[in-house]
Symmetry: C2
């Protein structure tokens, strides 16, 4: 692991089993872990201004290199200083490398494919992948775009994130072992090129995380964890497919997480459902980004303490007519303290923008409460009990 405290340091303040409560220090302030990371994919968190995201207690958000490369382009963001300046966000920022999105284009069905539920090979012809990098067409306007380890690092340098992610090949679930092994080796060669670019050009305020691949294969995950740890990065992320379902994901994470160096900050990419996040925390993972909390809001779905519905309260259902309860009893969010299910359900079915906003505020409050209370439980040595209570249906703030 690279030690570079002016760029990033990670200290662990408390442990409870494998779980830990830590602080990642960045040039844009601290990130108390475990932490959920809201997505600002295209430069805004859905429906919120950045000061509101900070007001909810978030210290880190994620911008997406692929989307911001496509539009508005890194030059335009650099002209505003960096992505912090462009968005007016003065806390910490991490950028995805673009690998996930490019290989989703190549393999079809984006997240579904990585998660094992997509079809194979849709739109594969849109992307040409070579050892050099990936050439593809903008799905927005058809322009030809090219991403490689060097280009991704260059863009992320222009975006000025506190944490850049190495450009990886995100192996899909349906790939066989042989493909996954060769793909993981390419990810390691690409990581070396990222590190080489970074050694020469890396911004003084930016740290670099490597991405551990290897699919669902323990030996490949082990090789990858060793290669990435040795490559000279400040932290590690777990990427790629974690299997067909939650059981397989739990098993893959159970053997992968311990392979990562104890002292490193560890990011689980793209995972952020309530149970999965608690599972990741129990394995010593520190930060988690996920589109689900903000995406659900668009479809009228609020997070709620109901394991039997995967923590989803579908406000578009007709059954909430006349229901005077808040989305979740006791929730401190601005929506639950002011409105009932009857009203929010009506607004959501009527496609009123205000509904999306209210549910985003709720869902992000819910996730922040979850990680804040998980952190307290780790400090108190009661994380297992906290996790069990939430998995049994307690709200995150009372467990």
């Amino acid at each position: 692991m690279r030690s570079d405290p002016q760029r990033l340091s990670f200290s662990i303040g408390a442990r409870d089993g494998a779980a830990r409560a830590g602080v990642i220090q960045t040039p844009h302030g601290p990130i108390e872990t475990p932490a959920f990371i809201p997505l600002a994919t295209k430069g805004s968190v859905r429906g919120l201004d950045t000061d509101e995201v900070a007001g909810l207690g978030y210290q880190l958000i994620l911008g997406n290199t692929y989307h911001l490369f496509d539009s508005p382009g890194p030059e335009r963001i650099a002209a505003a200083g960096d992505l912090h300046g462009f968005m007016n966000w003065d806390r910490a920022l991490i950028t995805d490398s673009g690998g996930f999105q490019v290989f989703s284009l190549a393999h079809g069905g984006v997240a579904n494919e990585v998660k094992g539920s997509g079809r194979k090979g849709d739109h594969g012809s849109e992307v040409e992948i070579t050892e050099e990098g990936a050439r593809f067409r903008s799905p927005r306007d058809g322009r030809e775009l090219f991403l490689s380890p060097e280009v991704s690092m260059q863009i992320q340098a222009e975006l000025g994130a506190d944490i850049a992610l190495a450009f990886d090949e995100c192996t899909p679930f349906h790939a066989d072992r042989d493909y996954t092994a060769r793909s993981t080796e390419r990810t390691h060669r690409w990581l070396d090129r990222c590190v080489a670019w970074y050694d020469e050009h890396g911004p003084s305020g930016q740290a670099l995380f490597g991405i551990v691949q290897g699919g669902t294969h323990e030996d490949l995950r082990r090789e990858s964890a060793e290669a990435v740890s040795a490559a000279g990065v400040h932290g590690l992320a777990i990427g790629g497919t974690l299997g067909r379902d939650k059981e397989e994901m739990a098993a893959v994470l159970a053997f992968t997480a311990p392979l990562l160096p104890e002292e490193a900050a560890k990011h689980l990419l793209g995972i952020g459902e309530v149970d999965d996040l608690l599972g990741g925390i129990s394995l010593g993972l520190d930060v988690f980004d996920c589109a689900v909390p903000t995406r659900l809001a668009r479809h009228g779905v609020a997070l709620a303490p109901s394991p039997e519905t995967r923590w989803r309260l579908d406000l578009r259902k007709g059954r909430w007519v006349g229901d005077r309860r808040p989305m979740v009893e006791g929730c401190p969010c601005p929506a639950c303290t002011r409105h009932d299910r009857d009203y929010i359900s009506y607004l959501s079915r009527a496609e009123e923008l205000t509904a999306v906003r209210l549910i985003v505020l709720h869902n992000l409050t819910y996730m922040r409460e979850l990680t804040t209370h998980a952190r307290s439980a780790i400090e108190a040595g009661t994380f297992d009990a906290y996790r069990a209570a939430v998995l049994a249906g307690s709200p995150p703030w009372t467990a």
Copy 2:
């Protein structure tokens, strides 16, 4: 005019020519006039929670009887207490009677038709208008619905608005004089039925405004103003077509406004562009509702001090790339104090929800600044100079 101070009182604190600065007292607090009224057509102001609308300084918002009748229905709103309770809005509320929307369905092209730019007779078969009322199909789900003076009053009673508007026939621009005359007479008969219903059933906390029709015909407007004033209402609104263009509107308002009783609160329905609003104020009109400020935001258009573009700044244009100025220099709104045109233009073109929200906050701040400063100018006896400065391109807060 009806005097009923526990329901509504209007006092004029200052005059400057025909313009006046007043206060409408309602059971849900005062409305300082002149006032712009944001639309909460379906129960929310676009993208904002009601506490934010109050935070912008608004004391009165408008809900729409036609839309709320269609969905969620008055029973459901009454079950929450009233529309105040349903939305959690504790300031004053006015409800449109539904007449405008029904007759827009009948005559095609909603606002365009009333304003003279629509085509005649589209969808006319959808609405059956008789002396009893209007029978039509829900454009949402095809259910047959019926609105009449009594039904509209009943719904508005259930909505619990501080101010209800009488159910009128909203004569379109293309109607000839004879049709307009007969239509206006029907509006008066319907007003008598509204008042009769109200005398028997009107909620103790609700005032009733009548609507002056008569199209672009001075004699018809005169007859209508006299009939409405004599009908036993607490205030008056000017409705129906005001002509083909801004010149004709100014002329129609110039002869219509003085026909209304001096002591009455006067509402100009559906008009709220910057120049029109100042014109209305100069004629002694007090409150103005309009969809434009919130609707423009959805299309990426901010209000700005540029008479040559009708006070519109189109942020979807490419020319704002790299522009570090706020939407409007000196604007106190949360968007202008935090973001530049470059960012908001990008967000709007990217269809990010946050863009709509930021521009709504700006546009409603702009309108509130306009009426607040108009009020101060009236109190200072400088309204003509204020109006001239704004019409010449000064921002509302510096003129």
